[in-house]
Amino acid sequence: MSVATEVCTEDRVWQALKDVNDPEMPISLVDMGMVYAIQIKNSTVKIQLGPTSTACPALDFIREDIEKRLQQENIERVEVEWVWDPPWTNDRISEEGKFILTTWGVSV
């Protein structure tokens, strides 16, 4: 449960992002290995995300889903930066993520 007075920490943001799923896969952005870095500066949360492909059609959805989830944590100032280096590959998917994907019939 979110508490308004709770201190905004990177750990808390990582935990919250575990609730945000990739729009095309049944696992979280964190398990997909798309979250490259989280920084909190002057009460702004900056999140670096590596899209799975240059033509990812869901960039805006992902950004909105992150903003909505962090609003539940009373975090209003969020900046999402798309980064390409290092390029995202399947190797970035967590073991848990790989397991879930295989149960959905997705080979990784």
């Binding site: 492909s53 240059t54 033509a55 990812c56 980064v83 390409w84 280096d85 290092p86 390029p87 995202w88 590959t89």
Partner: protein, 278 residues
């Protein structure tokens, strides 16, 4: 010059126009290649249709990245919105729809490869955002080359008629693709090299192109204007290029641009009214 640049605002004044021209020619060529790939939902096999659509999507993704750099020119005040070119600057070979699947494969091999070779010349570029982009683009382009290679062999081995048809499709676009890789006498190229924005000159890009095409043509038994040196194993270009009338901003001889049918499809793109600042 060892400077590095994190944004277009930091680029030296004399480098801005050449870099802008190069980004635009890449963005428009990637965009139109995506469109041409996407026109082939009726490829000669289901798998090939899926590949065509998938490659189209990749090309649009790459175009989005290069249009993003054009947008930076406007955001940073290096170009006024109304200064953005009103003319589409695609590689000449994509002006018209592919007439056959052989045309598709010829472009899949030559055009896509030329664009990738140009992009890979930004490895270690002094423009740091570009350095970060190219790994992902190269990763996605690996499949495009594999696709072209597979179909090159399939078509070349199917029958003599098929092989000759493929050769004809390749030769039709051979010169414009070689021209697109750049003119060594170009002032823009010299500036890009001096500023470290691009690391290889156009002759090196053409050599790289021939190094990739040579072994593939040999494997497929295609007769192209290149020759392999039996001693050194080097592939050499046997085509004389004339640069008369070549435009360095458009990287082509003719500036006519896409045909009317294509313009009708790309609509706001040909005046760059959509990508910039969107």
């Amino acid at each position: 010059m060892n400077s590095q640049f994190e944004s277009v605002a930091e680029l030296p004044k004399e480098a801005k126009q050449p870099f802008y021209d190069l980004m635009l020619v890449l963005a428009d060529s990637k965009h139109l290649l995506g469109l041409r790939y996407g026109e082939w939902l009726g490829a000669p096999a289901i798998e090939a249709s899926i590949s065509a659509v998938s490659m189209a999507q990749d090309e649009f993704g790459h175009a989005r990245l290069f249009y993003g750099i054009i947008t930076e020119f406007v955001k940073h005040g290096s170009k006024a919105r109304e200064e953005i070119a009103k003319q589409y600057r695609n590689i000449e070979t994509l002006d018209r729809e592919f007439e056959s699947w052989m045309d598709f494969i010829a472009a899949n091999l030559l055009v896509d490869l030329a664009l990738t070779i140009q992009i890979e010349a930004f490895q270690d570029s002094s423009y740091l955002p570009m350095r970060r982009m190219i790994g992902k683009i190269s990763q996605e382009e690996e499949f495009h080359l594999q696709h072209a290679h597979g179909w090159l062999l399939r078509l070349a081995q199917e029958s003599e008629k098929s092989r000759l048809g493929l050769e004809k499709s390749i030769k039709k676009i051979w010169i414009p693709v070689l021209h697109w890789l750049g003119n060594p006498e170009s002032r823009s190229e010299k500036i890009l090299l001096e500023m470290g924005l691009q690391k290889l000159d156009s002759e090196a890009l053409r050599n790289r192109f021939v190094e990739v095409i040579g072994p593939l043509a040999e494997e497929a038994g295609l007769d192209l204007p290149i020759s392999g040196d039996a001693v050194t194993g080097e592939w050499l270009l046997a085509t004389e290029l004339s640069w008369k009338g070549w435009d360095e901003a458009f990287r082509r001889l003719s500036k006519t641009g896409p045909d009317a049918a294509t313009f009708a499809q790309i609509d706001c793109f040909h005046t760059h009214s959509y990508p910039v600042g969107s």
